[in-house]
């Protein structure tokens, strides 16, 4: 079946079987292997990509259903402003260990920054709950997202900062200490 869509800003056309899911299409037809496949049943979040700007799980979206639409993967967000900030924060806070869940975590993190700029620790954890890290390295990932939100709140004082209100004091102190270094 003929399929035409935009991937990372480029128009691509392929002849695919309807049963091919979007993640396999990206990885095997376009060799965009930054999108990882964990469970292939919509449980782990590793394969999260953007479809028309919104995060979706590419293992439970069939490629043919994306005809005429726009997909962005981790590879396409190299110079994305939020991603640049998130990458630096992930590195600073040791937000990845084996790295398998990282592409999905990054896409979800970007969505949190865009959609819930006033999220506190609890809300971030809730928003991240669809992405599983089998290294269980959630502390670093949550800290990285919090630091990006905090930096943005300071940079733009018009955004109301409620992220501190529901925080655990210990985490807050640790993060401040890291910032001061």
């Amino acid at each position: 079946m003929k399929l035409t869509l935009k991937v990372n800003g480029m128009s691509v056309s392929h002849d695919v079987e309807p049963r091919l899911h979007l993640a396999d299409f990206l990885r095997e037809k376009l060799l965009l292997t930054g999108t990882h496949l964990g469970c292939e049943q919509g449980a782990c979040g590793a394969c999260t990509v953007l479809l028309d700007g919104d995060p979706v799980r590419s293992c439970i979206v069939y490629a043919v259903a994306c005809d005429g639409r726009e997909v962005e993967t981790i590879e396409g967000l190299d110079s994305d402003e939020t991603m640049v900030e998130l990458r630096a924060a992930m590195s600073r806070h040791h937000g990845l260990q084996c790295g398998f869940c990282t592409p999905g975590m990054m896409l979800t993190a970007r969505d949190i920054v865009a959609r819930v700029p006033d999220a506190g620790e609890r809300r971030i954890r809730q928003e991240l709950s669809g992405n599983i890290c089998r290294c269980t390295g959630y502390m670093g990932i949550v800290a990285a997202i919090r630091s990006v939100l905090a930096d943005r709140a300071t940079a733009k004082p018009r955004v109301k900062d409620t992220s501190r209100s529901e925080d655990f004091a210990g985490v807050q102190r640790t993060e401040r200490a890291l910032h001061d270094e």
Partner: protein, 280 residues
């Protein structure tokens, strides 16, 4: 973890979709957001010959504000409801419920009609729309009919939809401003299907007093009116006062089947929903 082969059609109108579903040559299933169906296809728990992708039919993505009700096309996504991109007949109730379904990446694809057609007894829309008294508009190439949620969902993952029929839209009655709502689901992990849930709508102005107990082993229990095998007020009183023995007994008489832990969990969900629905 790869789906078996299937044919794929993407009609652009409702009549086209219904014609494809009604055709005798292929066993066809409706594909909306695919957030329940695609995992089943990938696991080969479902192997239809053809998928009819209805997400690009104008009729099924519509949202209309009618007198006294809002009609949502079956393909309206949870995220659209959560973000308030479609009219809300419930003063924020539906937005809050939508925000609690699975995860954002799922809500961006998953649809209200797809959720009803999947008929998971622990699904948020099955329970919520039953409590809100929604009507399900069902269409086939030959006829149209309207069902209540209780008439649609006849068992776990089982609906009364016949071959060639599908959910076209859902009509949700507007509730009054001073209606009270309580909703509780108990789940082991954020975003997972609930182990127990309860929804309550008290709308004195419209004379609605409805309790729905979800995440049952069967269809959700809808308890309203005085003709029920047990009195709603007795159940509400027992659950609210923490009378475990009477509450469990009443829940079982209403049709909840399960072991003591299961019944207890549902009683806790009901108690929490009731305390939320209490007047300020």
């Amino acid at each position: 973890m790869k789906a078996a082969q299937f044919l794929y059609e993407r009609p652009t109108s409702l009549p086209q979709a219904l014609a494809l579903l009604g055709a005798e040559e292929h066993v066809a299933r409706v594909l909306a957001g695919g957030q329940s169906l695609a995992p089943m296809l990938n696991l080969r728990l479902s192997t239809p010959e053809m998928l009819v992708d209805v997400t690009r039919t104008q009729e099924m993505t519509r949202a209309e504000d009618e007198r006294g009700a809002v009609v949502l096309g079956a393909c309206v996504t949870h995220a659209s409801i959560e973000d308030g991109r479609v009219p809300d007949p419930t003063h924020g109730i539906m937005r809050r419920v939508a925000a609690g379904i699975a995860y954002r990446a799922v809500r961006n694809r998953g649809t209200v009609g797809g959720s009803l057609a999947h008929a998971d007894p622990a699904a948020d829309w099955v329970v919520t729309l039953a409590a809100l008294g929604a009507q399900v508009l069902v269409a086939s190439a030959r006829a149209r009919r309207t069902l209540t949620i209780s008439e649609l969902v006849v068992g776990p993952f089982e609906t009364s939809l016949a071959a060639g029929e599908m959910i076209e839209a859902i009509r949700i009655p507007k509730i009054s401003r001073d209606a009270r709502w309580g909703y509780c689901k108990i789940a082991r992990k954020a975003g997972k299907f609930a182990d127990a849930m309860a929804a309550i709508l008290f709308d004195p102005q419209a004379d609605i007093h409805r309790i729905v107990v979800g995440a049952t082993e069967s269809r959700p229990l809808v308890i309203e009116g005085s003709g029920e095998p047990m009195r709603r007020s007795d159940l509400a009183r027992a659950a609210a006062s923490g009378d475990e023995v009477a509450g469990a007994d009443l829940l079982e008489r209403a049709g909840l089947a399960g072991d003591a832990y299961f019944v207890h969990l549902h009683l806790v969900a009901l108690k929490r929903a009731l305390s939320e629905a209490k007047p300020q």
